[in-house]
Every structure is written in C-alpha cells, then in structure tokens.
C-alpha cells in the first residue's frame, strides 16, 4: 500500500524544511530592520508593507489553528492591533515573523482560555475549505490530497498543530518556532517529532479509508 506521506520526495531530504525556509525569510534583513525602525516611528506606509508581507501567513496560521475562518479573522484583527499598540516598544533588531506569530499564537491561546475550548473536536474543520470542484481529474485529485492533509492536520491536538504550522507551513526555523511557542529548542524538537508522527498516522488512516471506499 502506498500511503500519502510516502510520496516520492524530490532531491535531498537532509534539511528540515528547505522549501519553507525560503518562503519564510525571503525578507531582506536590512529592509526588515528599516521597516521595524519606521513602524516604531508610527509610519503608516511601513505598517502597510509589513501587513502586505505577513497578513496571509498570519491568517493561514490562525485559520488552521482555530479551524474557523470567522474566528481567525477576528483573531487576525486583534493580532494587528496588538502589533500597532506595541510598535513603539519594538526592539530595533526585532525579527518581524517570529514576533508576529508569537502575538498571533498568544491571541489564540487567550481566545481558547476565554471560551474554555475543547480542542479535540475537529468536525468544524470540514467547513473551512471549499469542496472539490467538478473540474479536471488532476485538479480534483490535488484538491482531495490537500483536503486530506488539512483534515488530518485539523484533527491533531493544538500543541502539535501549531508546531507543524510554524515549521512546516510557515517555514520558521525550529529555534524560532521554539521562541514563538515559549518552549526550549529541545522541547520543540520533541514536540515536532511527535506531531510529525501523529500526522503521518492520520494520513495513513485517511489513505486506508479512501482505498476502502474505492
């Protein structure tokens, strides 16, 4: 049986997330420092530049964490407002990505605490993404694959999901993800290992169910 996560991987597989790393820090460091300096001064254009760069990423992170678009939009708004409120207190050498994801995660944690949410229920995740369209076969297969990954991801405990989102989807370095989650690098490494194993297990079960249906 060929399972989903056993898809042939191109090239080497030594580094943690080679593709995602490029996605994460395509920001030129000098430009980032300049943006931080200008945001600290209350420059609206600099804020717009930061917003344009991180808005979709933060939304994706929050939507996959909350498994609900409307809640994710509310938390996204709160994240940006906190960013603006604290802009004047940013350190000159702040890395915007980890800083913003830390705020977004804290906003989500506060939200969960305020609602005393039970994270185990993942049924609502099914309504997050549009159903596969009746388009060409490849597109349908691709959509189905994406949906299986999203559904498997959504079924994981939030502590595993956030690590996979930060490192796998958003391409943060494990050390940066550790800072965002407020844990040591070693704890993050263990959590990531466990999360990957859980996701692989979920994908296996999902592949089995698909084959049974077929």
């Amino acid at each position: 049986m060929r399972h989903l996560h056993e898809r042939p991987t191109p090239a080497r597989v030594t580094s943690v997330t080679p593709d995602a790393a490029a996605r994460s820090y395509d920001v030129d460091r000098d430009f980032e420092l300049e943006l931080v300096g200008r945001v600290r001064e209350g420059d609206a254009a600099a804020f717009d530049a930061v917003h344009a760069r991180f808005n979709s990423r933060l939304f994706g992170f929050l939507a996959r964490l909350t498994r609900n678009r409307d809640i994710a939009e509310d938390l996204l708004e709160e994240t940006w407002l906190r960013f603006v409120a604290n802009a004047g207190r940013l350190n000159a050498d702040t890395r915007l990505g980890p800083w913003l994801f830390t705020v977004a995660r804290n906003v989500h944690v506060s939200y969960c605490r305020s609602r005393a949410l039970d994270d185990r229920n993942s049924d609502d995740a099914l309504g997050l993404w549009p159903a596969p369209s009746a388009s060409p076969f490849e597109e349908a297969v691709g959509r189905e694959l994406e949906q299986r990954i999203e559904a498997s991801l959504a079924s994981l405990p939030v502590s595993c999901r956030e690590v996979l989102l930060l490192v796998g989807v958003e391409g943060l370095r494990p050390a940066e993800a550790a800072v965002v989650c407020g844990v040591s690098a070693e704890a993050l490494r263990q959590r990531l290992k466990r999360a990957r194993a859980l996701l692989a297990e979920c994908l296996d079960r999902s592949a089995d169910r698909t084959q049974e249906k077929a």
Binding site: V13, F59, E77, G168
Partner: protein
C-alpha cells in the same frame, strides 16, 4: 522508506499547502483600525513633545522669577 525521509516528506506536504487569505472586508477593517491607531499614537507622541516643551518653558520662567524675587529681596 527510512525514518529520516518520512518526517521530511510530511513537512514537504505541509509546505505545499496553498496559502489562505482573509476576506477583503476583514483586510479593510484591519487597515482602517490600525491606521487610526497609528495616527492616534503619533498624534499623542506629538502632543507629549509639546507638553514637555511647555513644561520646560514654565520651569525656566519659574526659576528666572524666583531668582528675580531673591535679587529684589536682598
């Protein structure tokens, strides 16, 4: 498949997930509120600079007045 390859292929699958975007209404709302907050902050900073200048001027005047009083008394 060995145990090293499996985790990386998992992360690769995640890295390939499509980006998600908030609604245009959400974007508009965020930008309006954040720009307003930035404007208020910078306005407050400007106001606080004026307040400090005024306080310094008043303090200077008070010191000069006190000196003058002392000079007239003695």
């Amino acid at each position: 498949m060995d145990s090293d390859q499996q985790p990386d292929s998992i992360l690769r699958l995640l890295a390939d997930l499509p980006p998600m975007t908030p609604s245009a209404a959400c974007d508009r709302r965020v930008l309006v509120r954040c720009h307003a907050a930035l404007h208020t902050t910078s306005h407050r900073r400007g106001a606080s600079a004026i307040d400090m200048t005024m306080a310094a001027a008043i303090a200077g005047y008070a010191v000069a007045a006190a000196r003058e009083v002392i000079r007239l008394l003695y």
